[in-house]
Symmetry: C2
Subunit: 916 residues, 2 copies
């Protein structure tokens, strides 16, 4: 005979498929010796069998086995199901292999009827308790098993309350509750067309069928469709029948919930609360204030001792912090439920380290129980979760972390207030440009009303580790008036605002933030992680400050230094523009000669900061027109200047300058003392020249344009300057006997010839620098793999390079033919929503497309050079799933933004532990 | 003893490595029985041996063998080398395995000295001949073997001419020439420090060494480096020693050149010219006018008979039209040289077909001897090559063929003159836009001053098969003045100009053009080609007219119909714009409802034209903003309208409209009778609305933007309309019992989910149309493979598609991360020049990168669906090298523009024949 029903003492605690999650859990708890009220599970197979049957008949065997198991429960409890003297009451719960919230409510107190009720009252000596239990059972059974509307019961309940003139339920007497029970029985009969079943076995059979039927109910079916729960994941529901225990049986009874450790701090100490003489739902309802668990020591010392024992047993068995429910019925402690405790990152880290030290878990377990992404919480300031305020606008979460400050609307003002006057400011702009960079340095955070996650503001803020909300379209900025508008509201300069770059929210006023904490425990944990990892975690860092931060986060080198960030600094940009607009090689060289010592110093500082770790410098990548103002900007400026010129010409010079002085003041521009028409004309000329250059450099598809190595080959003097700066910086370090490991890499490469070409510059300049300084240089030479063709030609590129670094941002764009900025604004959300693409490939590495290409490149590259070092320095380098892919594919390192380094270190350990 | 020297009668005619090209050729000619003057070849091995020797000594054996072979020549000719009575004279020529023009000049008449000269004079009875031969020998030997400057000899020559008071060389007497010979001997002695060598064997040894040394001379080394000639291709030079024969020995002597067939027409008849009593160089010098070869019949009938025999022997042996040189010395016909004749495409085609019919060659040989690219000559009008005029400007060869017409500067005027008045016009524009399309139809050709090979003008002209020169930057167009400027020149409307779209040249005035000819022979040849091919050649065609032309060119179906071309037609564009700017689904649907019958009629006509061949329709591909005016255009229009509004407001309405009437007239715009301010305001509103839409649709990288299937999924109503139009058109054909084979394909696909999505539309609409019409529909469903990820996911895409068509234009852009428009303007020319990339990958399929991807896609696709049909419909589909790649990779078809179809058909045959 098939076994359809398992006692908690018999079922396999691992077999969630058969017993459901809850059922398996109750079996496991019982079998490890916890005092679980006795009970049994009816299997999911019984459910499927029932649903498949033509006439929806329960197999006769099922009810037979229910009776057998009930007999065992009766023996264990000394009560009898349906016994008018000492009745056994049970709860009936659904439970499938996957947790599916709200599938079917629990029925409590099943087994009560007009007769057993009296037995229960006699046994407890508490009529009020008895009637209260009965009326609850009738309502739950009516609603859950028979579909009688709650409202019908509630109306009767209210009527009795009114008649009794009480406002709170606790004010109702035993008689009132008896009255309610009787009315409920009538409601039941009127609405089901049958009297309330008095036979407990009839009750239980109806309840079991109701649970089974609920599996195919609309709510459950919709839920499974919505969350893609397949029959492989959960098929049918089990039914859990469990003896009722009551915490409201007097002062020797209680009920409570607890964590085995503090879920806020991770401290190794029981954490929770309880109520004496109460039911579980009283704790939840919040009518009475529960006591902290510490008090139990005084109130019920024996129970407190047993609870401590329970706590140890739970952790010893589950090797995880437990969140459990208990009930004390007349001096007996029962454990009703337990599950892994949900904790914040700080608590997770601390408890991991503690549990390893306590030898409760291994280091591997300690690492694997923490989701790497959650670490990020610990590394950015975040809004205090206790504060609940509605955001006034929402943009894209462009750079994580929260910031509070006074709103300012241009970079100069940000610098003035933020740097010079040490005030906290938030830079609010329509969008930002390279010339706003000093404003970034001075601000706590950035808020823009236009642009996406790859906008200038987003990229720069992420690089600096400052919070940024980008593209908050509800906000209009009026720089001239020093105001911004959100709906009907005005934000004036100086008004406090708060932004949360982790979710894109913008708030008026100051919201408390919680500062990040890089704890000793975190350091300890990440050291263990590093020991388990195969992948080396490096950081993307563009400045010595970035590098210092990266070191603090435990980066093992710099995997990507974007030299264009150095070009964008406010005092350098004019020289860079000079270089770009140069008409002759001589002019360009003159500008480059000014940049050389600046870049050399940049690189030297980076090398010094990181010594002896490697520093990987990418030669100039973006198209040069990115450093120039836009066509529209220049056209506006020229128009303004022409206007100025005409005014100057038409009026007396002084008068006009006074006039302009006023006009310009409203725009917050610098004011010349006297307007010299010659200067104006010269300015017009310069701007027009720049406009011509901008137009000449305009590209249809800049992403696929004249950039990277293509620029380095057509304007060799630019790359030669950078290569010289790197090598001279290395030589300067060598002169100080500092061990440094510089690496340079070439972006946008598609053929080996390009690498050869650049390599020739390197060889030649290296020979010169070595001859000039007398130091042997060791700078390594590598290439980005970010063009699809570079993957295809990895074999031939491998002959020219000492290392490969996958640039998965660009590679993803080219592989999908998606321009990130266009895609994320126009169709990608719709694609993700409709599961045409499951993930945003710019956030989660697309292993089936981009990843497949990478694997081919790895294979072909290593065929030529088996020990070739492969890395990744796209944004994917900081994302756990992508890191796991990198580990599996056989990469050597990942490089990501500084604050993602801890996340990546843990993810790298996970990857190694899960794939060994 | 090693053999260093081979008689013409002994050497292996195929061993160019050993004997050089010329030497091997002379051996072959001799051995097939042609009357070649006797001689021998000194091998390239002797050359290398000599150059390797420490002291540059000729191996003694070499000169020994030269003497032996000379003895055989003496025996054959009855003359003796150095014989004062009857001297043997020889020529000495270099000759390596590869033809290397100008490596070393020939030395003629070697063997003459003061003594043998007298013998020669006695033998010929012609003192003038003798001294002329001697002075030539001295100069050539002096210059070529000893490096004495030509100028020194020429000065003496001129001095004697002046003294003799003659202007032409022929005026010189025997005595003058004797004087010259003596002066030349002195020049030689003065400049070499030694007397002119009198021993013929000393002469020949010096000459041989000079030839050997020339192999390492600067000119030769540079040439080999420049053209990448490796030692594997040619190593060392041979020396050819050949008996001198003279066509200037009297009226029974002559010299000439001939083709075995007419190189202009291919006619099977000897074609050439000759001069009686003349030397070869006289024919070249053009002093005397040679006679057509026909005349020889009358002048020397026996010689004419022998020449006809020679011609047969040549063609029978070489199986190719020969271009040969002959000399008749005193009634004996010698053949001095022969090579394959260079002919135009028409002649190549005709001679191939004739030679096959004559059973001289096989069909395979007949096909393989014609370079497919050359066929293009026959398919476009071309400039008469006899006319030599300098171009006034040059642009990009954007669409091949030549055209002559009156310059017009806007599309309306082009239509007016070209269509309504049937004049030939060339549309000259800065750049063209979709709204110019009616001008294209009316014009003979298009000339633009901006844009590249993928500009609107280029793409549309190529599609129409009209000549186009694009981006001729030297030309400025002033539409308002109806003039264009090239340097100082003005082109006024109506001025005749000529453009050559095959090379990008622009000419003033009318240059004669030669019309294309699709001859019977070409048809015959291409039929043979089709029989040998594996690849099926289809055409890209967007209209029924295109389709008819494609049929004429022998296309076996349409591989790509770009529906956006249909959208661009002048009467449809407004409806398309209506659809794009629609704010609601209803408005958009209303516009689509207007487009549906138009598209359905388009498709039906295409199907009818091509029935029963397949017609492949690509669903809408470009981003929709391409159909809208640009931001700048709209801004200008709005400004103009505002200006108009202000004028109207400020002045009396009628007066202002008169004013505007004048203003607008200069711009050639339509003139309203009365300007209604309400209409103007409404127009402003409309334009502003459109401007907002244009801005909203703007993309950073349109190539990677919201287009193709991404559009089809986000605006399903557009694709649904097109799918319905295709299926209803099929049903209409079915109703007429016409067998048609429509195919639809989806552009820009990157994942199988996208295909599933579109397939759902198809299945649903197909069921509807079938139900409505009662006809079973068979339209096939396929996908473009033009996104890199589509290649990576070919296995999963194969499950959703019935055929794959590689879009190599887009695939190349994505694989290289090159935007074609940007690359071709900015860095690609430099890349090609410096061999960083050998070819422009947009013209020649990049087999190592793009091709490798394609092969992976083929492999993975066929693993899932072994009989999957693969094609290519990028521009590469019409290029022979790419077609060979497609054949090797295992594609099933190529599709290219109509006029490339014949080229592709021949190339497909070549691919099959060369790879079987």
């Amino acid at each position: 005979m098939k076994k359809w029903v398992y006692a908690f003492a018999d079922g396999d605690g691992k077999d969630k498929t058969l017993l459901g999650g809850k059922g398996a859990n109750l079996c496991e708890m019982t079998q490890i010796g916890l005092n679980v009220p006795p009970g049994f599970v009816i299997t999911t197979e019984a459910c499927l069998h029932y649903l498949d049957s033509a006439d929806q008949q329960m197999p006769a065997e099922v009810m037979e086995q229910v009776r057998e198991e009930m007999a065992r429960v009766e023996k264990a409890t000394g009560k009898r199901f349906g016994d008018p003297q000492n009745p056994l009451l049970v709860s009936v719960r659904s439970g499938s292999a996957m947790s599916m919230p709200g599938m079917m409510d629990t029925i409590l107190n099943l087994g009560l009827n007009n007769e057993t009720l009296q037995g229960e009252i006699e046994q407890t000596g508490d009529a009020r308790f008895g009637y209260d239990a009965y009326r609850r059972f009738i309502q739950l059974f009516g609603k859950v098993a028979m579909g009688v509307s709650d409202e019908l019961f509630d109306a009767e309940f209210e009527a009795v309350k009114q008649a009794a003139r009480v406002t709170e339920d606790v004010g109702l007497s035993a008689e009132d509750l008896q009255e309610i029970s009787e009315r409920f029985l009538s409601v039941f009969e009127q609405n089901t067309g049958r009297p309330f079943p008095q036979d407990p076995y009839e009750q239980i059979e109806i309840a079991i069928k109701a649970v089974f039927n609920s599996w195919m109910g609309k709510r459950a079916v919709d839920y499974r469709r919505e969350f893609n729960i397949t029959p492989q994941m959960a098929n049918g529901t089990a039914v859990n029948i469990c003896t009722m225990v009551f915490g409201n049986r007097g002062d020797d009874s209680a009920t409570g919930v607890a964590f085995t450790r503090n879920p806020g701090t991770g401290e190794n100490r029981l954490f929770g609360e309880y109520l004496v003489n109460a039911q579980g739902e009283d704790v939840v309802a919040g009518i009475r204030t529960p006591k902290p668990i510490d008090k139990l020591d005084q109130e019920m010392p024996e129970m407190a001792r047993q609870l401590a024992e329970l706590r140890d047993r739970l952790e010893n068995h589950y090797k995880e912090v437990q969140d459990f429910e208990f009930t004390i019925e007349k001096g007996t402690l029962y454990c009703l439920q337990t599950r892994n405790g949900k904790m914040n990152a700080t608590a997770m880290v601390r408890s991991s380290v503690d549990m390893v030290h306590e030898k409760l878990i291994s280091k591997k377990q300690g690492l694997l129980r923490i989701n790497p992404d959650h670490l990020e919480q610990m590394l950015y300031p975040r809004l205090d979760t206790n504060v609940r305020v509605d955001p006034v606008a929402q943009g894209l979460p462009a750079s994580p972390g929260a910031a509070v400050g006074q709103a300012v609307f241009d970079a100069d003002r940000a610098e003035q207030l933020g740097k010079d006057m040490s005030m906290k400011v938030i830079l609010v702009r329509e969008e930002t440009k390279p010339e706003d960079i000093h404003g970034f340095f001075a601000a706590q955070g950035i808020l823009t009303s236009r642009g996406g996650k790859t906008s200038h503001a987003a990229v720069v803020a992420r690089g600096m580790g400052k919070p940024c909300v980008a593209g908050a379209e509800g906000i209009r900025v009026d720089v001239a008036r020093r105001e911004a508008y959100v709906g009907d509201h005005v934000i004036k300069e100086g008004d406090l605002i708060t932004i949360d770059g982790s979710n894109g929210n913008v708030y008026f006023g100051e919201i408390d933030t919680v500062e990040p904490e890089f704890t000793n425990e975190l350091n300890q944990l990440l050291k263990w992680a590093d020991n388990k990892s195969y992948l080396r975690v490096m950081a993307n860092a563009d400045t010595p400050e970035d590098a210092e931060r990266a070191l603090k986060f435990g980066a093992k080198g710099i995997g990507l230094c974007r030299t264009e960030r150095m070009f964008n600094a406010v005092e350098r940009l004019p020289i860079v523009i000079e270089m770009i607009v140069a008409d002759s090689l001589e002019e360009r060289q003159a500008a480059l000669d000014k940049l050389l010592p600046i870049q050399r110093a940049d690189f030297r500082k980076l090398f010094e900061t990181m010594a002896p770790l490697p520093v990987t410098i990418r030669l100039l990548d973006p198209p040069i027109h990115e450093f120039l103002p836009t066509e529209n900007q220049l056209e506006d400026e020229i128009e303004n200047l022409r206007h100025l010129k005409n005014s100057v010409r038409g009026l007396d010079v002084l008068a006009s300058s006074m006039l302009l002085l006023k006009e310009m003041n409203t725009e917050g521009e610098a004011i010349p003392d006297i307007v010299d028409i010659n200067l104006v004309e010269k300015a017009i000329e310069t701007k027009e020249m720049m406009l011509r250059k901008v137009r000449a450099l305009t590209e249809v598809n800049p992403m696929l344009g004249h950039r990277g190595v293509r620029l380095g080959i057509t304007y060799p003097e630019i790359y030669r300057m950078q290569i010289r700066a790197i090598l001279e910086a290395e030589a300067e370090c060598a002169a100080k006997d500092l061990e440094v490991h510089p690496q340079m890499m070439v972006p946008q490469v598609c053929s080996a010839e390009e690498l050869k070409w650049v390599r020739r510059y390197v060889d030649e300049i290296k020979a010169e620098v070595e001859a000039d300084t007398g130091h042997k240089l060791n700078c390594r030479f590598g290439t980005m793999i970010e063009v699809v063709r570079a993957c295809m030609r990895a074999d031939s590129l491998a002959k020219q390079a000492e290392f490969f670094s996958f640039g998965t941002n660009d590679l993803t764009q080219a592989t999908f033919s998606f321009s990130r900025e266009d895609a994320e604004n126009k169709f990608l959300p719709m694609y993700n929503q409709n599961l045409i693409l499951r993930d945003n490939p710019f956030e989660v590495l697309d292993s089936k497309g981009v990843g497949k290409l990478m694997k081919l490149a790895l294979q072909w590259g290593r065929e030529v050079k088996p020990d070739m070092s492969f890395g990744i320095c796209g944004e994917h380098g900081g994302h756990p799933a992508s890191i796991e892919f990198c580990h599996q594919a056989g990469l050597n390192y990942v490089s990501c933004s500084g604050p993602r380094v801890p996340v990546a270190r843990l993810a790298a350990a996970h990857a190694a532990l899960n794939n060994s």
